[in-house]
């Protein structure tokens, strides 16, 4: 390994990747693409970057993957690095794959674990829809690994770390994809990833007005409400940030209670870190029961109000 280049369009994720890269005993640099990222340099140095390659090229402003990948390919040549760690955001994984193709490199996206062992980088990622975890290495001379947010905890180095800021002149064309408008999504008021109790609903909940009952239960349990993908992405009853699963959040509560959800692997991959998994479902053959510590077979519309009543009579 000659050196590692870090890129993420998300500052916090770049710092996480730097925290890992600085343990590898090779030169560590970071790519800061676009005028906005100029201000990140000091943070990056504090997290272990020895060098920041910065470009304010206007073609980078729209953050399209083709332009970002082209910029990174040029910086890889300049920096003479052979390992590129990028953030596995939706945009980041697209950049990673596009860059890997330019560099003729092997690429792992959505890595949820990363370690260095016997001279190789070893990544883990979900496989077979979340049924399994695959442990992989890349065998090509150049490697691109896109790492999921919060896989690594960012910590600054102790003391001052000097870094060098190099403004590079890149040969970039504007993307053929034109950004017409960017509509920010509303921010979720609920943080399911760090909650101690998560009450999660699925398609078995019939109507949006039934959410009140589940929310009351979540409150009685001292927790928050979360959901499967159809609830947030199709029905829009809850915020997309409340969705648990392979394309959503991974949760590690003390108690996860699944209500009216079958337990498809795309969802349950996000709950395996729960201390206790409980479930309520009318179908006794629902896969969620095989993953559960405790389950009640029955109609959620009868069970939830009774459970709520019981919990409130027990509280002091």
């Amino acid at each position: 390994m000659n050196g590692v280049l870090i890129y993420s369009e998300r500052r916090t994720l770049a710092l996480e990747l730097l925290t890992f890269a600085r343990t590898l005993s090779v030169p560590v640099s970071v790519a800061l693409l676009g005028e906005d990222s100029r201000a990140w340099a000091e943070d990056c140095f504090a997290h272990g970057a020895q060098c920041a390659y910065f470009s304010p090229h206007p073609a980078l402003n729209d953050m399209q993957a083709d332009v970002l990948a082209s910029a990174l390919a040029q910086i890889v040549t300049l920096a003479e690095t052979d390992v590129i760690l990028s953030g596995s955001t939706l945009r980041g994984r697209e950049v990673a794959a596009r860059l890997a193709q330019k560099l003729d490199a092997g690429c792992i996206t959505d890595a949820n674990g990363l370690r260095y062992e016997a001279g190789q980088l070893i990544a883990t990622r979900y496989s077979l829809g979340g049924n399994t975890v695959s442990t992989q290495t890349i065998t090509s001379p150049r490697q691109v690994i896109a790492v999921m947010p919060q896989t690594i905890q960012a910590t600054p180095l102790e003391g001052f770390n000097h870094g060098e800021m190099i403004e590079v002149s890149l040969d970039l064309k504007p993307s053929p994809v034109q950004v017409i408008e960017r509509r920010p999504k509303p921010i979720a008021g609920v943080d399911v990833a760090s909650a101690e109790v998560v009450v999660c609903i699925g398609r078995g909940v019939n109507a949006p007005q039934d959410l009140a009952m589940v929310e009351a239960l979540a409150k009685a349990l001292g927790g928050v409400i979360a959901c499967t993908r159809p609830i947030s992405h199709d029905r829009h009853w809850l915020h997309e940030e409340q969705m648990i699963g392979i394309s959503g959040k991974v949760v590690k509560p003390l108690l996860y209670l699944g209500i009216g959800l079958s337990g498809q692997i795309q969802h349950t991959v996000g709950i395996s870190g729960a201390k206790i998994i409980a479930a309520i479902n009318s179908d006794k053959n629902a896969p969620i029961f095989q993953l559960a510590d405790y389950g009640i077979v029955g109609d959620l519309y009868q069970i939830v109000p009774k459970l709520l009543e019981r919990l409130s009579t027990q509280s002091p």
Binding site: A69, L128, T137, P176, V177
Partner: protein, 264 residues
């Protein structure tokens, strides 16, 4: 207008068993089906076709010859023609090899306007193949599309669904577009369509047919080495209460208190 839909064939994820002693997945006997996200891509192609009278939809899939039946489902849903790329050489393809095979075929087709794919595959969900394909073909790419409008002027407008924002973009065709499940609700083909699909052409090509050499694809060309692939260790108590409802609820509350996860 010619729309190409690339569809991956994946094992039925709900039918994969895990060996309890080794935690290895058992794929023998698991049926193969078309990827879920690709069904949204195909549905969109067919809806575009239904709105206009100049649209041809071709489905391309890499897989075993046994998958001829699976690909018929795509024809029944409304594709006009299928290309099944099947060769023992393709076994163990990594994303780069799959993209290379698709690029070769698409280049040989030559005349196309839009390549539609899923945002990721249902099984591995790496999302790499569309990006690599776009790079190989020198095409623009629009990923994570939840709303798509095609214009007569051979361009499109799409709404991309990113974590923190919706991004409205426009691009001239040809382009690679990947779609999210929210784009549409894929149809189930009616019986008449299934019968009619039997008469639609399925071209079966191998590596030689598309001019791919043995060393370019498959396990030997793969740049990814899998060290292991195991189910995560899961030991759950599986106490399932299926008796009187009031008793069940009492028992659940007691159990949660015992576990110390109910702080009442």
């Amino acid at each position: 207008m010619h729309i190409i839909v690339c569809m991956k064939q994946v094992p039925d994820l709900e039918k994969i068993r895990i060996k309890s002693d080794t935690r290895q997945p058992v794929l023998e006997g698991v049926p193969w089906r078309l990827g879920e996200f690709e069904k949204n891509a195909l549905e969109e192609a067919v809806r575009i076709k239904e709105k206009r009278d100049d649209v041809k939809v071709t489905v391309i899939s890499i897989g075993s010859p046994k998958l001829k039946d699976t690909i018929k489902e795509a024809l029944a849903i409304g594709a006009d023609e299928a290309i099944l790329l099947t060769d023992p050489l393709f076994e163990g393809n990594d994303t780069a090899a799959s993209a290379k095979v698709l690029a070769k075929v698409i280049q040989s087709i030559g005349d196309y306007d839009l390549i539609l794919m899923g945002e990721g595959s249902t099984d591995e969900h790496s999302g790499q193949v569309p990006s690599r394909l776009a790079e190989l073909l020198g095409l623009p790419q629009v990923t994570y599309v939840r709303e798509l409008t095609l214009f007569e002027s051979k361009s499109l407008r799409a709404i991309r669904d990113l974590e923190d924002a919706l991004e409205v973009v426009e691009v001239n065709l040809p382009a690679v577009v990947t779609v999210t499940p929210e784009l549409n609700e894929p149809r189930l083909p009616p019986l008449t369509a299934i019968l009619k699909a039997a008469r639609k052409p399925i071209n079966i090509w191998n590596a030689q047919d598309i001019g791919i050499a043995a060393e370019e694809v498959g396990v030997n060309a793969s740049t990814i080495k899998e060290l292991s692939n195991l189910a995560p260790l899961q030991q759950r108590k599986q106490v399932i209460l299926d008796g009187d409802m009031d008793d069940n609820i009492d028992e659940l509350i007691r159990a949660l208190q015992r576990e110390g996860v109910l702080t009442l």
